[in-house]
Assembly symmetry: C2
Homo-oligomer: 445 residues x 2
Amino acid sequence: MNSKAIGRIWHLDGWRNGPLPQTDPRVDEPAVGGDSRTPQRVVPGIANLHSHAFQRAMAGMAESQTNREDSFWTWRETMYRFADRFTPESLYSVAAQLYAEMLEAGFTTVCEFHYLHHGPGGKPWPNPAAMSSALVEAAADVGIRMTLLPVLYMTGGFDGRPLEPRQQRFGHTVDGYLRLLDTLRTKENGRLRIGCALHSLRAVPAQAMREVLAALPTDSRVHIHIAEQLPEVEECLRLRGSRPVQWLLDHADVDERWTLVHATHLDDAELAAVARSGATVAICPTTEANLGDGLFRLRDYLEAGGRWGVGSDSNSSVSPVEELRWLEYGQRLVTRRRNIAVSAETPSVGETLLQGVLASASDSTGHRLDPVGPDMLVLDGDAPQFAGATEADVVDRWIFSGNRPLVRQAWVDGRCVVDGGRHTDADAIAARYRQTVAGLLAHER
Amino acid sequence: MNSKAIGRIWHLDGWRNGPLPQTDPRVDEPAVGGDSRTPQRVVPGIANLHSHAFQRAMAGMAESQTNREDSFWTWRETMYRFADRFTPESLYSVAAQLYAEMLEAGFTTVCEFHYLHHGPGGKPWPNPAAMSSALVEAAADVGIRMTLLPVLYMTGGFDGRPLEPRQQRFGHTVDGYLRLLDTLRTKENGRLRIGCALHSLRAVPAQAMREVLAALPTDSRVHIHIAEQLPEVEECLRLRGSRPVQWLLDHADVDERWTLVHATHLDDAELAAVARSGATVAICPTTEANLGDGLFRLRDYLEAGGRWGVGSDSNSSVSPVEELRWLEYGQRLVTRRRNIAVSAETPSVGETLLQGVLASASDSTGHRLDPVGPDMLVLDGDAPQFAGATEADVVDRWIFSGNRPLVRQAWVDGRCVVDGGRHTDADAIAARYRQTVAGLLAHER
């Protein structure tokens, strides 16, 4: 990782004459300006490499006794039932609230891994891109940078069985999928990129994968769920003769345009090969814990020089701070040591983690995300957590002092979208969200 | 666990005619009153069973490259250096900020495990109880209920070696310690109890433990650090012939007056015996992760009917929500299943966790903490996280929807100390804290 680029952050060379105001009218001293503590307060915006927006509305609703001894696979049943209620309007409303929360927490870009394409019974909406468009509009209205990753989802398992009724809202043929991408690409702009997502090896037959990859623009990003759960690894071994990550590496040109989501279960050879490939692993610590997936082998992967980022995935938590802290904490619990993500080149765990997510952000999202670019966070330098902080420890203080929101402002593409810790349109977005969720749940009960 | 007492919470029988205001002037509808959603918003205050207040000021300052491949034992060196700078004044200031944050997060009682007794070089302050008094005053001024647990700390290891120079600020003779307890007991009142803490088996010789326990009032609470780290278990085995928890059970009448802090490393016999004893285990998930201690065997312990609570310990995080969620998440990661803390008697994981901490609170703290008593939290029912929440899932929503602060009001002993999500004296407390920490760090640099 290149620590020079990060060092520049603290000097603010790229920002001092940029779009920032010289003073923040809501605070009693300049947020960015001449005082000596200023550089401690600004960090680059974080890219969220993996999100399923609609799942935010079910946070805390899959922890009940009926799901006792639950697993990922029974959680998925709850998720399917929930997914079945969404319309473009309700998806817009839930995504807007979620993206506002992401911005408030410090995520300035979101990769939306979007598979909820169709209406009830799998019938396409009159506009087949309606659900995608709802997400695009929510991101635009809320002001978060987006990489929309429409998902190709074709089969119900490695054996090629057809989708179950509950899965039919997700499904596409290869042709239909490529048409959707073509439609959506006309919407691309500086804050919106369209990429490609393969749901997983179990949901995309090998031939379809080849066809889609061959049809993509050469600079398209490709994201895929992989090796999240052991049963998936076992089924792939049984039916395709190798572990999923190995199979993917053998059957696709996996390089820096690729993002492997989860990759929780890697053997040594797979881990080394992924690290060599230049691909990014999108680790989702809070969701992987919520779903009982297991811990990514971060320590080994960092030693192999692998690239990685974080995602909030199911959005039961929405915070880069929690993702990064518990990524490190998981390793500490396993190794029974402290300070795992640190090396001779990186001054602290917090810096290592921040550099890690920044180093992969452009390749994974397809946006050019310069660490001194127009997406950034002004931390609340007056917060007790930063008392006496220096350049050397401000990031550690941010990540390792708890969960109180410490982002005062978030700027995306030169626009201030969070001020005083709140999204500039927070009240209206929340009011709409509450109404939407009440409606979704009325449907349930 | 008795779920009847918890059920009553939602009906608010104990509160409807109690000290609560009928309306909260800051919100657009009654916080507690007639509308149908009201019961969903009130939960009992949570007891924090283990805190070292001064360590809050070093949050995020022990994650640097100099601590690479760090462990609990090298972290302890940093902590010792930091501890050495505290005076009664600075301890008051740090504790006040911490306790205000605890209240804002939902902890309404704190058990302060206090070992930082003396001045530089181990010289007692002119008032030997000065440091204890600073903590007591901070708690009283901020309005948190406290169980002060002055710590007996005598030796540097199981072999009885004398304290190292850096440890001499913590030390007491048995007589000096009992005098300190006598002095402090004169301060007891409805919001302050004085208990006893034995630092650990390695710091308290067997004979001293017997003398102190024999001298305590029969209803005194006793807390002890135990089996946090494997080297401690190994040293105890080598020098005392049994594992620390087994040794303690064999040499003291461990019952419901006792709280075992951590108890991370239990064998099957110890786990069953602790569960039978009636003692509470104070689990500190965020600190145990930060220090790489390991995961408490919650699943087995719940099955054995054991009693437990949570503590914020080093206070690198200050949130019952994070402690409870990651207590459950740690078990999910180990078992690769979901919803571990749930049973036929408890409707959800959130309820199980809440009932667990409530069931042990009185015995562990020595206060009579009725779940429908005067310590309680009014959650922010308008928050998007609670949209459409019911009695059945409001606690799950609180714990499993992330980290955004959802406590609108905190009431302790009938006094409203947090309103609108902030401590009623937050600004003045924070200003003093910032000044204090800057001074502590100036000393460092």
